[in-house]
Structure formats: structure tokens, C-alpha cells
């Protein structure tokens, strides 16, 4: 039984576990579940700078988000460092492994490539493009679209919101461009 906690979970276990968060947050909080609002609340709490978008009572509106994302950090820690297998190896398809080797990556262990996602690589073109530019676009885009994967692809689609479908189409257009055009340029 405990072995199930240590081995990677298949999609048909993980998907429903994530999906259940939507009705739970509706029932417990009367709210739509999403994660990217946390970025807005954190900005409002730290550098509102007189900007209208950050001018609201973030404690009232955002405390639940901030508690949740603190929990996500903790959950990630438990999964990777406490109830964790000896080595986190994501068994990706051989086709993907081939493609990534072709882009110059040799170490495919862990959750993210150590050659790119590390302090030593941070100031390389690959590090800047993925961590800094990628991170910036995730935050900018998620707030511009008023939702990210959780808010639009899961919660929004579950409520048949056309706006969310359009957002998801955007997610894919952007993601495909990054994968096929941008990454080969920077890796």
C-alpha cells in the first residue's frame, strides 16, 4: 500500500484527484478554483504601487489563495523530499528523450533538466529564456487571460465557459511556438 505513495501516479489517478478540487472549492468556499490569482494577491500585498489592479483588500480576497499556495510548496516538499523515492525519474517517451538529446540535453533525470534549471545555468541563454522570460510570460499571460491551467483548462472548461476554451487554444498556440521555435534557439 505505502508503495503507491512513492511511485509515479498514472494519469487516470492524478486527473480525478485534481478535478475533485473544483467541486471542493465551490462547496467549501463558494469560489472558482484557480492558482494564478495568487500572483495578483502577492503583488497587491508587496508592491501595489498605486496601481488600480492591485488596489483592493488582498487579505480578505486572497488569504485563502496564499494559504493554498503555501500548502502547494509544502506538498511539493513532502512528495519530493519526505515520502519520496530514492531518485525522481520521470519516464518520458523515448521520442521525447531523443528530441531533448537532440537539443543538447544530456541529463534527463529529476523533474526538470538540471543543465537548464540550476543557479549555475541561470545566466546562460537557456536559463534566462526558460526561468526568467518563461516565468515572466506565465505570470503576465495568466493574469491577462484572467486564469491559467487550473482556472481555465480545468475549472473554466468544467463549467463550459467559451472564454476558457479560447484561453486554452491560446495556451497551446503559445506552448507549441515555444517548444518548436523558441527552445531550439536557446538550448
Amino acid at each position: 500500500m505505502p508503495d503507491l505513495l512513492f511511485r509515479p501516479w498514472p494519469w487516470w489517478v492524478a486527473g480525478p484527484l485534481i478535478g475533485l478540487v473544483v467541486p471542493f472549492v465551490y462547496w467549501y468556499g463558494g469560489k472558482k478554483w484557480g492558482v494564478s490569482s495568487s500572483l495578483q494577491h502577492l503583488c497587491a500585498a508587496t508592491i501595489p504601487a498605486g496601481i488600480g489592479y492591485f488596489h483592493y483588500d488582498w487579505r480578505k480576497a486572497g488569504s485563502w489563495h496564499l494559504a493554498m499556495v503555501a500548502g502547494i510548496v509544502l506538498g511539493g516538499f513532502i512528495a519530493a523530499r519526505v515520502l519520496a523515492p530514492a531518485e525522481l525519474l520521470v519516464e518520458i517517451s523515448s521520442a521525447t528523450a531523443r528530441d531533448l538529446h537532440g537539443l543538447g540535453l544530456t541529463d534527463l533525470t529529476g523533474l526538470a533538466p538540471s543543465e537548464v534549471f540550476g543557479w549555475g545555468a541561470l545566466f546562460s541563454p537557456a536559463g534566462i529564456a526558460t526561468v526568467v522570460v518563461g516565468g515572466f510570460l506565465v505570470g503576465f499571460g495568466a493574469r491577462y487571460a484572467d486564469g491559467c491551467t487550473s482556472g481555465h483548462a480545468i475549472s473554466g472548461l468544467a463549467s463550459f465557459q467559451l472564454s476558457s476554451l479560447v484561453a486554452v487554444v491560446g495556451f497551446f498556440i503559445g506552448g507549441l511556438l515555444s517548444t518548436w521555435v523558441l527552445l531550439p534557439l536557446v538550448l
Binding site: P8, W11, A14, G15, I18, L20, V21, P23, Y26, W27, G30, K32, S37, Q40, I47, I51, Y53, G62, S63, A67, A70, V73, L74, G76, F77, A79, A80, R81, V90, I92, A95, T96, L111, A112, P113, V131, V133, G135, F136, V138, G139, F140, G141, R143, Y144, A145, T149, I154, L162, S163, L165, V166, A167, V169, G170, I173, G174, L176, S178, W180
Partner: protein, 157 residues
């Protein structure tokens, strides 16, 4: 010109202290699932955008399915939240698509493909020990801040 879609954050109800613990536990559950299911893996996102595995599609697809069925049941039962209030399913704007959804969505996607993580997994990756993702989070916050700054000048509707 004004953003007709995004309603201001719900400031109506103060969240009681004990329920913050519930949200902390919810987040812990999510962070664990994100890592254990490899949703937080840059490699899995690459697989997804290369269409070389069903894994991420399976996760998002079944998540949407379970969420949709649950919401449908709650609507059918006219379920109220546990404080007894009516639950506001759906966007205040009725889910109408606007320019912000395709423009913001594409910007987000560009970032997702590069970073290999959306906001939830960013937090989980920090917890998992990939400390450089703190820079990823800081960059995401910078992006959110710049959005807030530029918002009046950006096309939304």
C-alpha cells in the same frame, strides 16, 4: 476600453482563520499530486507539446471530466456552499470570449512551454528543492505586476 470581463476579487466575505488551515491542507494535497503525478515536470510538458505521450492530456481530460460532472451534479442539486450561500458557477460575464483570453492565453502558453510549469507547479517545484524556481516565481510576479501596470493600455474586449 474598460475591462468588462474580470470582476474585482471577491471582497465580500472575510475568510475565517480556521478555514485558512483547510486551504493550506488543500494546497499540500495539490502540491503532492503535482509532483507525484509529474504534472510539475518540465519533461512532461515537453512531451505534451510534442504530442509524444497521452499522460498530460489524460490528466487534464479526466480532471475536466470529473470537475464537469461534479459541477453538473451540484447545479442539479442546487447545492449551496457550506456556509449556505448560493454558489456563483461560471464567469460574471457569462463566459463570453474576449481578446484578453486569446492574447493572454498565448502569452501564458509561450511561458508554459519555456518554463515547463504553470503557477501551481511553480510552487510545488520550489518545495521539491529546485530552488532556482524562486527566480521563476519572482519573474512570474514581475509579469503579473507589469500586466497590472499596462492593463489600462492593453486590449481586453
Amino acid at each position: 476600453m474598460p475591462n468588462t470581463v474580470a470582476a474585482p476579487p471577491d471582497t465580500a466575505k472575510e475568510v475565517p482563520r480556521d478555514s485558512l488551515l483547510v486551504y493550506l491542507l488543500l494546497g499540500t494535497y495539490l502540491g503532492f499530486v503535482f509532483v507525484r503525478s509529474e504534472v510539475a515536470s518540465w519533461f512532461r510538458i515537453q512531451e505534451m507539446f510534442r504530442f509524444q505521450s497521452f499522460h498530460m492530456y489524460g490528466i487534464i481530460g479526466t480532471a475536466v471530466l470529473v470537475a464537469a460532472v461534479s459541477v453538473a451534479i451540484m447545479k442539479r442539486m442546487r447545492a449551496r456552499d457550506h456556509s449556505g450561500h448560493v454558489i456563483p458557477f461560471g464567469d460574471p460575464d457569462g463566459g463570453r470570449p474576449h481578446a484578453q483570453h486569446i492574447l493572454g492565453g498565448t502569452a501564458f502558453g509561450l511561458g508554459w512551454g519555456l518554463l515547463g510549469a504553470c503557477p501551481g507547479p511553480i510552487y510545488a517545484l520550489i518545495g521539491s528543492g529546485i530552488s532556482v524556481m524562486v527566480v521563476g516565481l519572482a519573474s512570474a510576479l514581475a509579469g503579473a505586476w507589469v500586466y497590472g501596470f499596462l492593463k489600462p493600455r492593453l486590449p481586453h474586449g
